[in-house]
Amino acid sequence: MAEEVKKIKVTIDNITIDVPMGTTILQAARMIGGDVVPPAMCYYSKLQGSGGKCRTCLVEVSKGSEADPRPMPKLVASCRTGVMDGMEVKNMTSPRVEDARNGVVEFLLLNHPLDCPICDQAGECHLQDLGYEHGKEGTRYEFKRRTFDKHDLGPYIQLHMTRCILCYRCVYTADQLTDKRVHGVLSRGDHSEIATHIEKSLDNNFIGNVIDVCPVGALTDKTFRFKNRVWFTKPMSAHRDCKCCSGKVTLWQRGEDVLRVTARKDQWGEVEEWICNECRFEKKNTADWIIEGPTQVNRHSVISQGHYEHVLKPTETFSAVHGGRKPKLLMDIHSVSEVNDPSVDLSLINGSATGEVFNHPTKTQE
């Protein structure tokens, strides 16, 4: 290496690490990993200029640096504060931080509709996780929650402005990933809203990535809308030969149907590589993809429920004992059950399913 980057020492929750100059506290904490990492709703390491909006990553700096050991008077946003040599940071160990974070979560949830039972993001929602960890049981807010006029963002992306926490991630994504910006924040304060200034369909080829960066359910995949709950689909790593993107994705399958395609996410919930709209919205056949295997899901995540790993299936001994005769099937579940009907392929429906999709008359009455 031609240039030696100067390393400085930083201590976070009594764990010391050497980091290069110019690292933020949040990045340093992520280098340590584990429980000392402050949660981040708006900061996204792959988007330039992101961070500093949501205040969930507040930490206490108990010693400014070796040269100036005074503590910082206020809690600082760790995603925007660079580390100094000899800095000491308290995250989990500080009751002030805990208290402030609880307050921030309460503020974030003030106008949030809490319609998790309907929301497609439930199960992989960062706000849900945050609320579960730091939230209060009930709300103290007595007024009407804000509502917005509905904006149509085209056939692929569904915008629920009421769920938005104004993290600006999607705005940065639209700015930095796509050629022309058609997406921004209008109005101020409580009335701020994400919109496409001229209510035009967003036709950039990478605009689908705003769905992945959204920490809440404000921007969701219209082609997956209400198809299934996230935790009932199984994530599979897959790839395909794509002209415009890496083609490395996670397929969310139900049986053999591909209900949803997302980019692969790392342990911080950030996408590894951006994927194009074609991969995300158009390729809903298993045959389009080369499947690598099941994606590793954190054991504590709801998504891992019902995914039985390393199961030893006993071998079927019946036919061996009965001279090759197959066991008689007493009841085919599809002859009675109308759920998971093999003749209904949800992945081929554009947009959400309606009642008619399931009430088709092809079913033979017995």
Binding site: R225, F226, R229, Q305, L330, I333, S335, V339, A353, G355
Partner: protein, 185 residues
């Protein structure tokens, strides 16, 4: 060999005396006890003419609830299915259309909802998990059936009757639930 416990007792068998060898006194004693039961309160009831009341915490057949306007509460959030230890509940969600607002309370609803009563263990975790008060366990048994098919309960068997058009049936289905709720308070 060392004994496994310090509390073991050595039983000493003494030979039976005359009274014991006769057996008859013991037999009459036992008969007297049996005879006395004729005059005691009967432990059984003549089901089905007579029926025992269910306990307030009895968990029976599931009911899918409606709100006071007769709209279905269920929004197909899948929490009952995910909490179900027997994996008995399955569902299929659909989006409410503009002309269906009087049928479903939320934007999303369960187009299909099935409970496999052969799998169900009536633990009541679905009722506990439901955020919309949409499913509860009532005070009835799942009736017996000759085929397995009869135990896959779909929405038309599970849904509570409409409180506006079929008031009496709705009250019957609600059962003593409201009364118990009041008593709790």
């Amino acid at each position: 060999m060392a004994s496994l416990t310090t509390r073991s007792k050595v039983l000493e068998q003494t030979p039976l005396n005359l009274m014991e060898r006769l057996y008859l006194p013991s037999i009459f004693k036992g008969m007297a006890i049996t005879f006395s039961h004729i005059f005691k309160k009967k432990a059984t009831i003549s089901y089905p003419e007579e029926q025992r009341p269910f306990s307030p915490v009895f968990r029976g057949l599931h009911v899918l609830n409606r709100d006071e306007d007769g709209r279905e509460n269920c929004t197909a959030c899948g929490l009952c299915a995910v909490s179900c230890p027997a994996e008995a509940i399955t569902m299929e969600a659909a989006e409410r259309q503009p002309n269906e607002e009087h049928l479903y309370r939320e934007e999303k609803y369960a187009a299909k909802y099935e409970i496999n009563m052969l799998r169900c263990i009536f633990c009541g975790l679905c009722e506990e998990a439901c955020p919309k008060d949409a499913i509860y366990l009532s005070e009835t048994f799942a009736p017996s059936n000759f085929t397995r098919k009869g135990f896959i309960y779909s929405k038309d068997q599970l849904l509570i009757p409409d409180p506006n058009t079929e008031k009496e049936k709705y009250q019957v289905a609600k059962g003593l639930r409201e009364v118990h709720k009041k008593n709790k308070k």
